[in-house]
Amino acid sequence: MNNSQQIVKVGIADMNIVKAPDAIRTSGLGSCVGVVIYDSLQSIAGLVHVMLPDSSLSRNDPINLAKYADTGIKELVSIMIKHGARKLSLKAKIAGGAQMFQFSSGNELMRIGPRNVEAVKKQLSTLHIALMGEDVGGNSGRTIEFDPKTGVLQIRTVNKGISYL
């Protein structure tokens, strides 16, 4: 038991990192994807709450790197390396990318969840980061929490309760 454990919260289009014994979490992922990148040997983990697939969509300057799958993951990796993680031991777990609303029309906006997931996977593979687990798609909101000490990702949904990855 560790009573001094802090849980660092990550908001929408936001990122942060933690070292054991602390854990990191983000709440209410819908179409957004929570990307956890971790180095088990150094017990360090980062989490980015990705909202959109690609920074080329941005019409805002300066851009918020954490908002997009491509820039968010890249930036998170570089922050982690600055804090002692080693590039070669980085692994990833992802959750989210749901389709919360079912529309009959083929609205592109409604496909944002799956598009986010695709973009996240593409960026992870570009950076040669192994994807160790995923809980993506479906139509449920998710709250996730990652413990860098155990490397376990806890996923909570309203209807299915808690599961582990």
Binding site: I12, G30, R59, F101, L109, R142
Partner: protein
């Protein structure tokens, strides 16, 4: 250039009036449907970060019953009608005449979902038609979509369009409560209108106020 930086207090007042008119008509429709007096609070228009908006609406993990509509036409926007579960249960129990119905036990009865959808449909069409009359803009809505889940997962859909432009959201929020509620300050539901970035200028223009004066 960020559209949010250019908005004046006069323009915020106009957005408030838009909320007032739209939600006022919708609250009347809700009163008639439920045969209850429903009060509407003075709308608030706030410029917030995504996280602040979700906290203001009750927190990311708070489970709510919601109806989402995409407003299409000359001023595209997102609209949500959000009910806390206790309130959603009460309304649906009454609409489908089943006192045992509860959103706490999925999977939900098809009747209940379609009642919630119909509730959303009536409220939204009242909101949108009064908004359309007020601004003279051609506005119509998508078929309403229903979702019972975490608030953060639901409301974030309203940010997708604008998130490429900004890290802030302008939300026109109108809270409702039942007039005979013991606690007059309790909130029983919210309308959130989240216009797309390019819709602000169109709405202001239609009401005779330019965006960059």
């Amino acid at each position: 250039m960020n559209f949010i930086d250019k908005i004046s207090s006069e323009q915020l007042d106009i957005l408030k009036e838009i909320g007032n008119i739209g939600a006022g008509h919708a609250a009347t429709a809700l009163s008639m449907m439920l045969n209850k007096k429903i009060d509407m609070k003075v709308p608030s228009v706030r410029i917030m970060t995504f996280d602040e908006m979700i906290d203001m609406a009750g927190g990311a993990e708070n489970v709510v019953a919601s109806v989402y509509l995409r407003i299409e036409g000359e001023a595209p926007s997102n609209m949500f009608f959000v009910l806390p579960l206790t309130q959603g249960n009460k309304y649906i129990q009454q609409l489908i005449c089943d006192p045992n119905f509860s959103f706490d036990n999925p999977p939900y009865d098809e009747m209940a979902i379609s009642a919630l959808q119909e509730l959303g449909n009536i409220l939204a069409s009242n909101y949108i038609s009064s908004l359309s009359d007020f601004t003279g803009l051609d506005l119509h809505s998508s078929v309403p979509a229903v979702c019972v889940d975490m608030l953060g997962a639901i409301i974030s859909y309203g940010f997708i369009e604008l998130s490429a432009f900004s890290d802030y959201v302008i939300v026109i929020d109108t809270a409702l409560n039942e007039a005979n509620d013991d606690n007059a300050r309790s909130v029983d539901g919210h309308f959130f209108l989240i216009p797309d970035p390019e819709s602000f200028e169109i709405m202001f223009h239609s009401l005779g106020v330019a965006l960059n004066e």
